[in-house]
């Protein structure tokens, strides 16, 4: 063993010890008062998993109970569990982890490709737009090694689905989703499309449990956000009176990202914030060594990854935001501003309420929100600490908040896959169903992000599609997931159809009164003598023995129908 190897081993040991220590410290701070609220440990485990995972089944509940609820949560907060199965599945979508510069080069916009082809003389100007142009375009792109943007979006959505279904770090995935939606950007705005994968991977995901200010700063400096809300083009007003100021980002920064709409700022504050952030833009991707950029450097530019501060376009005058003055500090003004916003009481309240709405109830108790906001202020915006305060609070375990949240379409689909240990074979198809149920992920056009309350997700059209999703999912039709219908039955023949039904619902809806559900499902069991037929077919299937032959088609169809009813049932829509 060479010395380097030894050092490495020692280091890993130390790191792992440190990790264990941190985990133990965290776990020591956790004490869930569910018993005081009259919950059994099992009920508490179900509530915990319903709030902090994308879905679960009876085995997950059992495992969590054995592990200890506090320890489970501590590990989720650490979010460091590795999983080689997940890594292997993500391998097919590895472009999403590329840098913005790489993606910009690999997935050029169609208009850039056309321009390039014309410049290179491959196409004449007249050939642009003629019939067959898409074939020409494809040919030229292939010759250059370019890929189409659609492929990048498909990879991104696929990686999202795969992570949600398989990641052992469920809370990190949920929080990534939460913060992405909070700091929403959208594929519907072409200017920021290329930069969205990196936005999620490098800006959001690493910061979901850390200091709020870090997250805020990272989003403020990301190309996706700079283009989405136009700050990239906002410059100081020029002497000839032409306005260069764009207030779009400034307004959302106050209203949606920090203080909230009633956060006590004025229109004047909005304008002043926009002035402070003039010059905050994106480093040119195409020609990094262009003359103009060299000049900008001489004028005092600052770079941070893809972010560029252009001193030449920054407003040097005095600005006042929430009574605090900013004057001629260039780049640092922006950082000071973000720090100022992140430590406001209004921000603490706004963020805490939004977290409580996401993880507890559509209308969370103000007592709970106040506790969280206080923790937010005490820790200068430490997100993990705010979550700990939330889950340690009695209000979190209140019986009245359980099963009150409605699953979003994405949550419904992923929870179905997770509870049945489905095998995702076509994540794009899977996501198409999510869109059909009303959640076109990453395409929400407004900077507010998707609303987070039940009535938004439940309407006549979407509800029928939820039922249809259940039926299609169970039949392995068009949802891109394959499942083993006999697995929840422990691969054993059920005594009857009713027995099968009971096993499914106990497995997928642990701690729900399944007797009631079964009663409601009785009508189906009498349809066309289903019970007798299924019982017979299950016996045949079980007699077949080997796992490979278990997929008896008739049995599948009828079991699937029952399973589809469970997934489409009101009980399964709730979280």
């Amino acid at each position: 063993m060479n010395i380097r190897h030894t050092i490495f081993l020692c280091l890993s040991l130390v790191l792992s010890l440190l990790h264990q220590l941190a985990l133990a410290q965290r776990a020591a701070k956790l004490s869930f008062p569910y018993a005081k609220e009259g919950l059994t440990k099992e009920e508490a485990a179900v509530h915990l998993l319903s709030r902090f995972s994308y879905g679960y089944n009876a085995a997950d509940v059992k495992e969590t109970m054995e592990m200890g609820l506090e320890k489970w949560f501590a590990e989720q907060l650490a979010g460091s569990e590795s999983d080689t199965t997940l890594a292997r599945r993500l391998d097919a979508f590895k472009d999403v982890l590329k840098s913005n510069q790489e993606l910009y080069s690999l997935y050029p916009k169609a208009f850039r490709v056309r321009r390039q082809a014309i410049e290179e003389g491959v196409w004449s100007k007249d050939s642009v737009g003629v019939a067959g142009n898409s074939a020409l375009l494809a040919e030229y792109m292939a010759s250059k090694g370019y890929k189409r943007e659609k492929e990048l979006i498909d990879q991104f959505v696929s990686a999202k689905v795969v992570r949600a279904v398989y990641s052992p770090n469920q809370l990190r995935e949920l929080m990534t989703d939460f913060w992405f939606n909070h700091f929403n950007v959208s594929f519907s705005k072409g200017e920021c499309t290329t930069f969205i994968p990196n936005y999620e991977a490098a800006v959001i995901r690493p910061n979901v449990f850390g200091q709020f200010l870090d997250l805020l700063t990272a989003t403020a400096q990301s190309p996706a956000m700079l283009y989405y809300l136009d700050n990239a083009t906002s410059v100081a007003a020029t002497k000839n009176g032409r306005k260069g100021l764009n207030e779009n980002y400034a307004r959302e920064l106050l209203e949606l990202h920090t203080l909230g709409v009633d956060g006590g700022y004025t229109q004047q504050d909005v304008t002043e914030v926009a002035r402070v952030l003039t010059g905050w833009t994106v480093k040119p991707m195409a020609e990094p060594n262009r003359k103009g950029n060299q000049k900008a450097k001489a004028g005092g530019r600052r770079e941070n990854g893809d972010f560029l501060f252009k001193a030449a376009t920054h407003d040097r005058g005095t600005k006042t935001v929430l009574g605090q003055h900013f004057s001629n500090q260039g780049y640092d003004e922006g950082l000071q501003l973000l720090a100022l916003l992140s430590e406001q009481e209004a921000t603490a309240q706004f963020i805490s309420r939004k977290l409580a709405i996401r993880f507890v109830a559509d209308t969370p108790s103000t007592v709970l929100v106040d506790k969280m906001a206080k923790r937010f202020l005490d820790t200068k915006g430490n997100i993990a600490e705010v979550l700990v305060t939330m889950v340690n609070a009695r209000e979190f375990w209140d019986r009245d908040v359980q099963r009150t949240k409605v699953k979003t379409p994405f949550e419904l689909a992923v929870s179905a896959a997770r509870s049945l240990r489905g095998d995702i074979n076509d994540p794009v198809k899977f996501n198409n169903w999510v869109s059909r149920m009303g959640e076109k992920k990453f395409y929400y056009i407004a900077p507010t992000g998707f609303p987070d309350y039940a009535a938004y997700w439940i309407n006549s059209g979407s509800l029928l599609n939820r039922m249809n999703f259940g039926l299609n999912f169970a039949n392995e039709k068009s949802t891109g997931v394959s499942i083993d219908l006999l697995a929840p039955l422990s691969f054993r023949e059920p005594e009857s159809m009713r027995d099968a039904l009971k096993k499914y619902s106990n497995n997928m809806l642990p701690a729900v009164d399944t007797e009631r559900l079964l009663e409601r499902l009785e009508p189906l069991l009498t349809v066309d003598n289903l019970q007798a037929r299924v019982g017979r077919k299950l016996n045949d299937a079980a007699a077949d023995g080997s796992k490979g032959q278990r997929k008896n088609k008739g049995t599948q169809e009828e079991l699937a129908q029952v399973l589809g009813l469970i997934i489409g049932s009101p009980e399964f829509q709730r979280r």
Binding site: G129, R251, G438, A446, P447, G461, P523, D528, E571
Partner: protein, 420 residues
């Protein structure tokens, strides 16, 4: 949140008209009967909106044809009533403006004075980003990004009565458009026939099982919504809906827009309570080889005009209740660009069709296209705020109460387009 329990209250005529009574639950039939008389005298008004995404070249659709500056700026694109002879010549509407030949199906409606055109329409916000301009036009607040609702959703809320059916606001699109975001119930449906629980022939009873499960759930939101869903589903699954054929001799184009408008017509005739319908026409972003009498613009224009004309013909007998309006996020540059197309500009034009519309006129203010008259020296200037036109249509056709709430922050006039 508007209460949504009162399904089919006023759709009595439609139900009786198409003989659906046997197919619906008896309590519903009672409700229908009760409201039948009232409905007879208060036919529902319907507004049908088509968003032309990508920004239509208004100067090519409706051309100020004797403008020398325009002819000079567009050597490859300009088409006038006399410059291109025979097939492809544009149609002289009023001695100043001509209609692109591909829009010829609209000519008759214009001559019959039911079709009005507003030229120079656009947004006071000067953004030339598709995304922003569409967002602003659909939210109806051109300087306010985070308006959570769309203007058509607000319009539904201002109608002065509860949402009566799930079909009050329907978008024939795969997902809800920005215009329909908001507190009031709105549906996105691509295909009426697929508005159902996908039951297998061998296992009938699934829909019934779902219905019963939801009837007894403790969540009132799930319970009430599912009730609406199943009622709507039963209606749409009737043979009358499945075997729908348009009025005789009406043939819709086999395009997304044609299919959508056909289904809108179907919903209107069924009298299921439709009040605002929305659909889209795509492909107006003509940066390259826009073409003249033929080409990419012409193909889109033809689809638009034929779809609208077919719809209107299909609406025979219902036209008094219906107004159709087009919209597009902005217009295009006066000058053609280096690839025989046009880039993002400012003002465009739109079409408003209805029996009570004071049509046969090109409204608005289009100056001579000399550089000094153009916005930023390059674009047809916006002389009419889109909100003025939208608010006028909503007020005069839908007779909105509190119409001033439709466009928060807008203090301008309403455009008057209705016959006196």
């Amino acid at each position: 949140m508007v209460t949504r329990r009162a399904f089919l209250k006023s759709s009595g005529i439609g139900l009786f008209g198409v003989g659906l009574l046997g197919g619906i639950p008896s309590f519903l039939a009672d409700v229908v009967a009760e409201h039948k008389r009232a409905s007879l005298y208060s036919k529902r008004k319907v507004l049908v909106c088509i968003f032309q995404r990508g920004a239509m070249d208004g100067l090519m659709a409706v051309t100020p044809f004797d403008d020398k500056y325009l002819q000079a700026a567009r050597p490859d694109l300009y088409v006038g009533p006399s410059l291109v002879q025979g097939k492809g010549a544009s149609i002289d509407l009023d001695g100043r403006f001509s209609l692109h030949s591909s829009l010829s199906p609209l000519e008759r409606l214009f001559r019959e004075e039911r079709l009005a055109i507003v030229h120079g329409i656009g947004s006071p916000n000067t953004t030339r980003s598709h995304f922003d301009a569409q967002d602003y036009m659909e939210s109806g607040t051109p300087f306010e990004k985070n308006t959570t609702s769309g203007w058509l959703n607000r319009a539904v809320g201002l109608l002065g009565h509860e949402a009566i059916t799930p079909f009050s606001a329907v978008s024939m699109t795969p997902s809800l458009p920005r215009s329909f975001y908001g507190q009031n119930n709105a549906l996105a449906i691509q295909d009426l026939k697929n508005f159902k629980v996908q039951e297998r022939a061998s296992l009938r009873g699934t829909a019934k099982s779902f219905e019963e499960l939801y009837e007894e759930t403790s969540s009132s939101l799930l319970r009430e919504t599912s009730k609406e869903s199943f009622e709507a589903m039963k209606l749409l699954q009737s043979d009358v809906v499945k075997n729908y054929t348009p009025a005789k001799n009406v043939r819709y184009p086999v395009s997304n827009l044609g299919k959508s408008l056909k289904q809108v017509a179907q919903l209107i005739k069924l009298d299921v309570g439709l009040e605002v319908a929305f659909t889209e026409s795509n492909g107006w972003d003509t940066h390259y080889n826009q073409g003249g009498p033929n080409g990419s613009f012409a193909r889109n224009a033809e689809d638009l005009a034929q779809s609208i004309a077919s719809f209107w013909e299909d609406m025979d007998g219902y036209q008094d209740e219906v107004v159709l309006m087009t919209m597009t996020e902005f217009g295009r540059t006066v000058h053609q660009n280096g690839t025989k197309g046009t880039d993002h500009g400012r003002a465009s034009c739109n079409f408003i069709l209805g029996n009570y519309v004071d049509g046969g006129k090109v409204y608005g203010d289009v100056p001579v296209l000399a550089t000094e008259n153009l916005e930023d020296g390059r674009d047809l200037p916006v002389t009419t705020d889109f909100r003025a036109v939208f608010a006028g249509v909503a007020h005069d056709h839908l007779q909105l109460q509190d119409a001033d709430k439709l466009f928060p922050g807008y203090t301008g006039d309403r455009f008057a387009l209705w016959k006196k």
